[in-house]
Symmetry: C2
Subunit: 295 residues, 2 copies
Amino acid sequence: MVFKNLDDLLKRNIKRQRLVAVAAEDLHLLSAVKKAYQENIITPILIGNKKKIIEICYNIDFNVNSVDIIDTPQNECAEKAIELIKKNEGDILMKGLISTSQLLKSIVKKETGISGDALLSHFAISQVPAYHKLLAYSDAAMNIQPDIKEKAEIIRNSVRIMRKLGYNNPKVAIVCPVENVNPKIESTVHAGLLKVMNKNNEIEDCIIDGPLALDNAISIESAKHKNINSEVAGDADLLITHDLNSGNILYKAINFLAGGSTAAIITGAQVPIVLTSRSDSEINKFYSIVLAAAL
Amino acid sequence: MVFKNLDDLLKRNIKRQRLVAVAAEDLHLLSAVKKAYQENIITPILIGNKKKIIEICYNIDFNVNSVDIIDTPQNECAEKAIELIKKNEGDILMKGLISTSQLLKSIVKKETGISGDALLSHFAISQVPAYHKLLAYSDAAMNIQPDIKEKAEIIRNSVRIMRKLGYNNPKVAIVCPVENVNPKIESTVHAGLLKVMNKNNEIEDCIIDGPLALDNAISIESAKHKNINSEVAGDADLLITHDLNSGNILYKAINFLAGGSTAAIITGAQVPIVLTSRSDSEINKFYSIVLAAAL
């Protein structure tokens, strides 16, 4: 199964999902929610300042007569949303006008939260004109400096999503600056170990190779120039970056320099979390909702 | 002075320079050298296996009748080349069929080398279709985990090059995953300090801002969305990445996903060093020679 477009991958088996928007009084959020609602992808539940929400919806021609709007003070929005998720009244969580850290705090709270002991991680999948298929990558926005155990979890989180999307045994490249294990470069040591963990079935349902530099992961010509023999090289489905610095640069380079369109979520909690940033384009916000709904 | 094309920037005041190629018996090197020779950018001095060099040159229609070829055993090529540079018989060093580490070892050697106490760093400058001007960045290939002092040197090395190319006070973005100083994210701490060092004139001849995420460094819309007020945001000339992981990913993303063309050298030694890799395109190798010749 090889897809080049996000539409083709994400919109195959969509069943309408209930999206809970936290502090929904935000133009960008409501624009994306409107589009997804009109395309029958979600049923929104809008939590926040009801007056402001209705005002914004009016301005963007979003008829919310039949939409649930729960008037809630700003500092109670996150708790209220998570309560709904726990009562199984919502399938997706989406961040609005609330700080990421405030929302995450409620999500990971020991007893009342919805993440248990699981590691939360960021997962993104992009269509990039220069690549011959969709390109997924993690972690661009959540884990600052994952250790080897956390990286294994990040891969498992990502592969779980990709299997749900229909991938069978995705090809995973551990992206490093060089192709050999060099004890002075921690990412290459992690890469070597993750490859072994894959061979030992400690990380399953995927084919891991690394260390691979980005060009060798995505360009078959590059891999040939370097005499790299690997099932993954030049044909990676999923890239695992070393840390937040490298992951975030990859995300931004794909979206702001390489003409990419991207769906991204936080995964690991009971439900997918849509956590787009202000600077993300409308279409990326929409795709992120579609991705969450497809899971 | 704003240039969108490498040709426009690099070919303004070229005076023919003497390029010393180390272990020159390499098809890719000789192809790039041929082009630069024919365009009157360099006079090559080819060190290495003379028989093989002549054979390859014959195959690519490169007439080397009037070119210096110094027949030298592989393990003596680097020393021989550096000897020429020290005798002021060469202006540029270029790596051929020799390992990077072997060449660098000779370059940094205490008494016989050509780097003194200076920090060597990698400098790249790309034309990228999605950006409104040329985009320089460092360090994508040399320093693994620079500390704050080394980063200051990396900036000084880069700014020195840019001034020679005609830049006046280049705008420097310290690229991080977020826009605020967060003690848990080392790159943001470095960014804050580098900005202060710039204000205190410890790093001169440039305008430094950071922490800036990549999108805020290169997209004025992104910067506006985030309410970032900065002379650098959206208009950076030079990006400084945190470490080799992030720098290398930026380099590869620009060249393999964003359609970039790039000139790159190692700077900090007595002469510029052209150190391209096998997977670099012909045009990037050529541009790297032109950059070295322009300095």
